[in-house]
Symmetry: C2
Subunit: 394 residues, 2 copies
């Protein structure tokens, strides 16, 4: 993958500190000065110390760096694990010469195991004075690779909104996560950096809207991680951008990352999108879309390239609290071809099977009640998913 430079005012430090093996497992994304920031986190009742510390640090919308430890989630590790997370933030802050409250901490990997703090401490000491002997890179690809655990490839997306003074800002995002993915407030890990200038309130509001329609509309396996974190940092180096244009750029980057995450879902062979229209409201559209997206019977039908609309009908039907859903009004389509209530002939069936063998499959449901609409992103369910997760060791 070609290098993707980080936006103005950011650099990355990527290294191996021996968390699990000899691949990169330690990443710091750092700005030259404090940034305007917004972040959302998992709502899990088993949220890890990284999330606890980061929620505190992001509260004032001012961040300078993000430190990511991969292959150890530091979750369910008790008071010791919380102290470890605080020490990690302090070590990075010391190297950068900023308050610890300007450092976000993120960590994914095995649950229930403490960090190897001796190695982390030694590495943190080597960072001061910043950037230390390990040096820094401005390549987002190296950073995206460094935050991977079981991802099969790095996930990067970028956009370039115009600034109000006629220049160009940049938005660069990286993400990781292939399993334990049904983010509630965020995805596993996603970090978006921009050199656009934006005020904290505007950034926070647009970030929540963008995350809702992208990472929060993603599900690989219905399982919500204890470590979900999605943050945006704006350095302001490129100057002000029209808020609408910035939000569109953020949306484009996050949507791109969401689709990459869905397509790389554990064992996934097909990117599956489900769009529900004609709902009472957007909430109902999302609920029904998630029900279809998460149905193991729909996911295996997609895997088997079987245009089995009966399973889609079943998954719509099990939204039993939505009593305004009327099976005689609902319409179901695959890739724009209506399959219910319309009947598909043998030629059409062959064409549908061909469509379902593609890399991306879209299922569309029109409830014909109102104007609510939502699209969600996921993948098929394969024997690869079972194999990966039956064999992965604690």
């Amino acid at each position: 993958m070609d290098a993707v430079p980080l936006p103005d005012g950011f650099s990355a430090h990527v290294a191996n500190v021996g968390i699990k093996d000899d691949t990169d497992d330690f990443v710091v994304l750092a700005a030259t000065g404090p940034c305007t920031a917004a972040a959302v986190f998992t709502r899990s009742r088993f949220a890890g110390p990284s999330v606890v510390v980061s929620r505190e640090h992001a509260a004032d919308h001012r961040l300078r760096a993000v430190v990511v430890v991969s292959k150890n989630a530091n979750v369910a590790t008790g008071p010791g694990g919380l102290a470890d997370a605080r020490e990690l933030a302090e070590g990075v802050a010391l190297a950068l010469g900023c308050p610890a409250t300007e450092v976000l901490v993120a960590s994914t990997g095995v649950i229930g195991r403490r960090y190897p703090m001796d190695r982390l401490r030694a590495h943190l000491r080597s960072l001061a004075p910043w950037p230390g002997p390990g040096g820094t890179t401005d390549d987002a690809v190296r950073a995206a690779t460094g935050i991977m655990t079981t991802d099969t490839h790095a996930k990067i997306a970028e956009a370039a909104p115009a600034t109000v003074d006629g220049g160009t800002a940049r938005v660069v995002g990286i993400a990781r996560g292939v399993g334990m993915i049904e983010p509630d407030m965020a995805t596993m890990l996603a970090f978006v950096l921009t050199d656009a200038e934006v005020d904290p309130g505007t950034l926070d509001a647009m970030w929540r809207r963008v995350v809702d329609r992208t990472f929060n509309s993603l599900s690989v396996d219905t399982d919500t991680s204890t470590s979900d974190t999605a943050a945006v940092l704006a350095s302001g180096a490129a100057g002000a951008v029209d808020p609408g244009e910035l939000e569109a750029a953020l949306h484009s980057v996050c949507l791109d990352l969401t689709r990459q995450l869905a397509a790389d879902g554990e064992g996934a062979e097909t990117l599956l999108t489900v769009t529900v229209t004609g709902a009472r409201d957007d909430g109902q559209a999302r609920r029904v879309a998630k029900s279809v997206l998460n149905s193991p019977l729909v996911k295996t039908a997609v895997h088997g390239a079987d245009p089995n609309w009966g399973r889609v009908a079943m998954a719509v039907g099990k939204c039993s609290d939505d009593t305004d859903i009327d099976q005689d009004r609902v319409r179901i389509a695959f890739g724009g071809t209506e399959v219910y209530p319309a009947t598909v002939d043998d030629t059409g069936l062959t064409a549908l099977e061909e469509y379902l063998r593609g890399d991306e499959v879209s299922i569309e449901v029109d409830l014909r009640i109102g104007a609510g609409a939502w699209t969600v992103f996921g993948c098929d369910l394969t024997d690869g998913y079972v194999r990966i997760n039956a064999d992965y060791t604690t």
Copy 2:
């Protein structure tokens, strides 16, 4: 399997009418006179005509027969499908010489295809005068086999509560269902017959309590069928039974059937039970237990015999609306061996792996909040599940 006689006052007619292949696909369970009855049905918004008609017929708690068509669900078949279901009930009623409103109709199999009504009509005509040339059987095993679609074996359970006059009544249940199983008001299909005498109000109340703790606590794949029906018919031939004793017998039979259904879940190799105690109330206990039972990551860990309690913690944690769940109070155990927060040594780990390789695995979660408790029943997630459902044709 040895024959299991039906309770006094019941007989069964089992036949092949050529719905899909040459195995039995048509079953009538009939009483010699009207029975006291109770029934619960799927809450699906795509409930099939069988459920629509049966809900009407069961409303007065008086039933004489149940007719089951296998391998065709008669779901999403429009007004024609509804007329077919009514004609089926009428045909059975004519043969038995009872009102059509005393006949329950149940059907499971492929969605979206009409019955072959010509063959069904011819067979219905041959039933009068009852039992017709096909004859009847008093063997519950034959009836249980006749209602199977993709089940790998017939499911039968029985109990024998004492009557108040010193005799013995009998309770015999049959059930089917291996996939599309997360019953909301009932399971796929379950019919329990008893010769005990009981009044309609008592029977209805105890049936709902029993179903709630048995079939409604079952999930193979989180997918709720469009055809779920669970009914009990009491002929009264054996005389009155103490209500507590009858409820215990019904519970025992339904629990046995539920465990058989879970163990025969599509592709299942392990029966998985999850028990949550110490919850705020029973509802919270059930919600958390279902979250663990339905987690694909927990299900694959069980399949891989991996005592991965981190995934159980994750599944408890994703019940994010239950803000009183405190990760520092929760306790997690496998088969009675605490794994969180207690630490298991290497010897203990080997013993746990051995335990997880067994035919049945129990996961216990103690929330340590209150006295609510619930047990749910399911199975592991295997490549067999994926293979069955990616290959099964519409």
